[in-house]
Symmetry: C2
Subunit: 597 residues, 2 copies
């Protein structure tokens, strides 16, 4: 279906918004009145600009406080105001006007009056070649639901008057979208789409500050689309999102994020079928870039990794233990020291995975490979992390490991880790919701609830995305302050079946673990029924403890190098979390280390 | 009364919080469990540290999910958990424990059981020299109001068991605090104070993210204090504020802000009488600092100011027209070009105004004056702007103007402005509420509602504080992004009785006015019943228009120099606002100028 977006959804001046919207690949726009008024370009210039960019002007909005106003001169003034708006729309080349239900305290609860006034408006509009889409605002004075708006439109009975449906207004008031399917499709003039996190708060504030793109919140937006299409609606799917974060983020990336959300929504509603997701089964590798690589080698050695290979054409080393693999790229350099720059995802179908990613607008990473090297399909996540789709050591597909020549191997006596349990990435704060939707939709992962973790300097939002079998888990965090934008910590959690032995080995090999305050262990004794000797062991090694209904979770951390640290985790049967209860302790301990460093 | 604060109210590691709390002048602290667990210091070390700082440990908190749990072994485990907590409190030297009402889904609605279990707990506590303060959480499983908690405490009837009252929990559920006055004072063990903006949202989220210091929100916190004191409460007034902003702000300034809020609260509740506010009657001057002063001189000249004096000992010029005075300090230098650094407030009693400011913890600005110069009382506002308390040209007080020698005066033909109408200052985003409370309490100004203004890159919060007669108006804005921290725009609005003539004069004198898009004027014609010729004049000069029930408001802007621009305003009879409706247009026009500059 045709895809549009309201200009209010993006930041910046109108001309830059239009450029970003066209570049992302949208078909049309809703021009928001305030954007037009503040623009230095005339309506005629904007009309030409949209035409040049290949964007249709699908809607002009909003026209407020028109219907159900008793006639004491005000309704005549309203009609004059409408004619001025039609003048402007003619200059702009827009032929559909959104009229939202009155919030004016002078409006009366009188459907007959509302219908009569809207009939007059539609008549005036029709003479100018313009149509009117009437929308129920969730906080309208009297008209707040789509079915009430429909009764008025039906009563007005004018060919130039129809409905505008908005998924936020509908779902925030708990309306059941099923009834939409019974409306006459030709009376559905426009469909605006927005999602929102489920929150118990005043609906106007909720709408103004917390709307998000479909798939980023808690509403069943696809049900609204499905019902409208069932009714016969064939107009644009148009995003209208007011959000404090998007208002500050760059228009170009937000526009791509927005269009991706519509592509996923079309798939959910059964209106389009992009290549199906190929869910990754595990981590093939994590790649670290470090200009000063010696400290990283020391840390990897202490963790029990051995250098097993060197890339045949690039300054990249392969380090392995069990099924855990780390690539150390010594040619790259990253702001703030060592950083995690790429993740290899083990997938049953690398080509299919890449096709889906491309269909969902993930930027394809240019492939630089020498003759004879394995083809690697890779795309970039919103934060720039490269995702490689791998099939390691399978006869049916070239393996990336073939590009590495065996290195003289310094084997370690005891392997510490079995495989990568999860990877945690700090997201720029204005890309948190975008990142969660990206990983879910592109990789077919499921998302946990969003959590607030207490950091000494603020709350840190955290949300994990994971494959159903837990083979791939990625924790997305957003740092509290804007200071760490783009350079927040990242960590790699290694699974072990004996974290106590693993922690001892790390120490014996000269690695240092994050010191945890003694007070934590005193509290552990009060909180859990644990053997005092066991607590002493945890205390000695700085191992944190958590438990849920199904199992125990023990974990400890290495020191941080640049942006990166490692975690060792031992998951008891069925424990599904990440030790969120201990995050505040860990964050404070890391802060203390930074201060003393 | 004794003044305390919960450590959770401030950011950073516990040791730094304690230092900040002591430095601000608090008497005691509530130690928050998570702060203690994450601290590298032992409880004994923290006890010593508090003693060294002169801080009493007035409360340890919270102990959760204890009461009304049916006995299936859990209550025994809860008692053991309590004993471990008592151990810790003994080491810490704390003798009062906050127990908040259970949120555990296993808790039952059984006051008899709750009372019996709390009796047992109090008995155990008493043996250790500890008392229990029981508090109703607003989102408790069954116990959510202070009167319900009191019924349980009364029933338990144990000398070591009393109530903790929390103004947020009380007022967020709409409880009437009057009933508190009838409780036995000796059973009120502790009083926690927090305010919050009035919001319609889930009470747990409201509490966790939006609490603020008394006087910064919409609750009548003084009524709670008054009722508790009437009941006989003589313990600490203790702040417990969870706030996303304070968690990120510096602990030292937040602690001062916090203590100021308690001083104002004591005054409101009639418990203390600091020097009374001396409300300023007008602006004596605004001072601009500019290293490159020639462009500022050009702008002042274009606005109709004439240089009338030079300071006898400092590189400061006095520029005047009508009753508007600007000081141009060419010795200072400021980040990002010319900036507004000081405001002179015309006041009937400079000494009294300064005494009140000092009593409310405003930092006194060191006075550097030569012999014979007028004494100037000055304090610093939270954003560093210096406020001078002046009495210009009155025989009963030395006038600051006496320190200026007359300059050869280039008079202008027509004066443009009559006086300073208002001054707008961008506040660092984490000091917005602090600034509003500062101006209200220190200067005795009233505050308008907080508004959200649409900027092309986000929402800009704005709140005005003003004297009842409008003689002094200060608009506090907070920029949308954190990027502009500490260097956002400032502006001086000059009152005129003919903004059209004033704008023409500015142009004739070579000044440039902010260009406003033509689309704005097309819309003005649709929105208001204005004479087309008048609209053409406004359009020609870039004058914006607004109207409220009592009058018209016309205003226009100069170009920006550094951080500073001027506004010319013509207020019709009784118009009280600042043209907020036009703020989005102005902000977009300024952005466009910056981009093209």
């Amino acid at each position: 279906m045709r895809k549009s977006i309201a200009t209010v959804s993006l930041s910046g001046p109108l001309s830059e918004k239009l450029t970003a919207i066209a570049a992302a690949g949208f078909d049309g726009v809703e021009i928001f009145e305030n954007d037009l008024l503040a623009a230095p370009q005339s309506p005629e210039e904007l009309r030409l600009r949209c035409a040049d960019l290949g964007l249709g002007i699908d809607l002009y909005q909003p026209f407020r406080d028109f219907e159900a106003i008793p006639d004491d001169g005000l309704s005549a003034r309203n009609l004059r105001r409408a004619e001025r708006t039609f003048d402007l729309m003619e200059r702009l080349g827009a032929d559909l006007l959104l009229v939202c239900s009155s919030v004016d305290p002078r409006a009366v609860d009188d459907d007959a009056l509302a219908a009569a006034q809207l009939h007059t408006l539609a008549d005036r509009a029709q003479r100018r070649g313009i149509r009117i889409a009437y929308e129920a605002l969730a906080w309208g004075r009297h008209v707040r639901t789509y079915d009430h708006a429909w009764r008025i439109v039906e009563r007005a009975d004018h060919p130039a008057l129809g409905l505008c449906l908005d998924s936020f207004h509908l779902l925030s008031r708990g309306s059941d979208p099923k009834g939409i399917a019974d409306l006459p499709g030709e009376k559905l003039f426009f469909l605006q789409l927005a999602d929102a996190p489920l929150m118990a708060m005043d609906v106007l504030q909720w709408s103004r500050h917390h709307r998000c793109f479909p798939g980023q919140g808690g509403f069943d937006v696809a049900a609204v689309v499905g019902a409208a299409v069932a009714a016969g609606y064939r107009g644009p799917l148009s995003l209208e999102v007011f959000n404090d974060v998007f208002r500050q983020a760059g228009a170009a990336t937000t526009a791509v994020d927005a269009l991706r959300s519509l592509l996923v929504l079309e798939e959910q509603a059964g209106l389009a079928a992009p290549p199906a997701p190929v869910v990754p089964s595990g981590f093939a590798f994590a790649e670290l870039a470090a200009a000063d690589s010696e400290p990283v080698r020391g840390l990897l050695g202490a963790l029990g990794f051995a250098r097993t290979g060197r890339h045949t054409s690039k300054p990249v080393e392969l380090w392995e233990q069990g099924a855990a693999r780390i690539l150390l790229n010594t040619g790259g350099h990253s702001r703030g020291g060592p950083a995690l720059t790429a993740i290899g995802l083990e997938t049953p179908g690398p080509a299919g995975a890449a096709q889906r990613a491309e269909a969902l607008l993930a930027p394809v990473v240019p492939r630089r490979r020498a003759t004879g090297e394995a083809p690697l399909d890779a795309v970039a996540a919103p934060d720039g992390t490269e995702l490689f789709f791998c099939r390691t050591g399978h006869p049916d597909h070239p393996s990336w490991t073939g590009d590495f020549a065996p290195a003289p191997c310094e084997t370690t006596d005891t392997a510490t880790a079995l495989h990568i349990d999860h990877i945690a990435l700090t997201q720029p704060w204005h890309q948190f919701d975008e990142a969660a939707l990206f990983y879910r939709s592109v990789l077919g992962l499921g998302a946990d609830e969003s959590l607030d973790l207490a950091d000494p300097y603020g709350l840190c939002r955290s949300r994990a995305v994971a494959a159903p079998d837990g083979g791939v888990r990625i924790a997305l965090n957003v740092a509290p302050g804007p200071d760490t934008d783009g350079a927040g910590p990242q960590h790699i959690a290694l699974a072990t079946d004996d974290v106590i032995a693993a922690a001892r080995s790390v120490r014996e090999r000269g690695g240092s673990l994050l010191p945890i305050p003694a007070n934590y262990y005193d509290d552990l004794a009060a909180r859990f029924d644990l053997d005092p000797q066991r607590i002493d062991t945890l205390r000695e090694l700085g191992i944190l403890y958590d438990r849920d209904d199904s199992g125990e979770f023990l974990h400890c951390y290495t020191a941080t190098l640049g942006r990166v640290f490692f975690e060792l985790v031992q998951r008891g049967d069925g424990y599904r979390g990440y030790g969120a209860r201990n995050a505040g302790i860990r964050l404070a301990a890391q802060q203390a280390c930074q201060h003393s460093a």
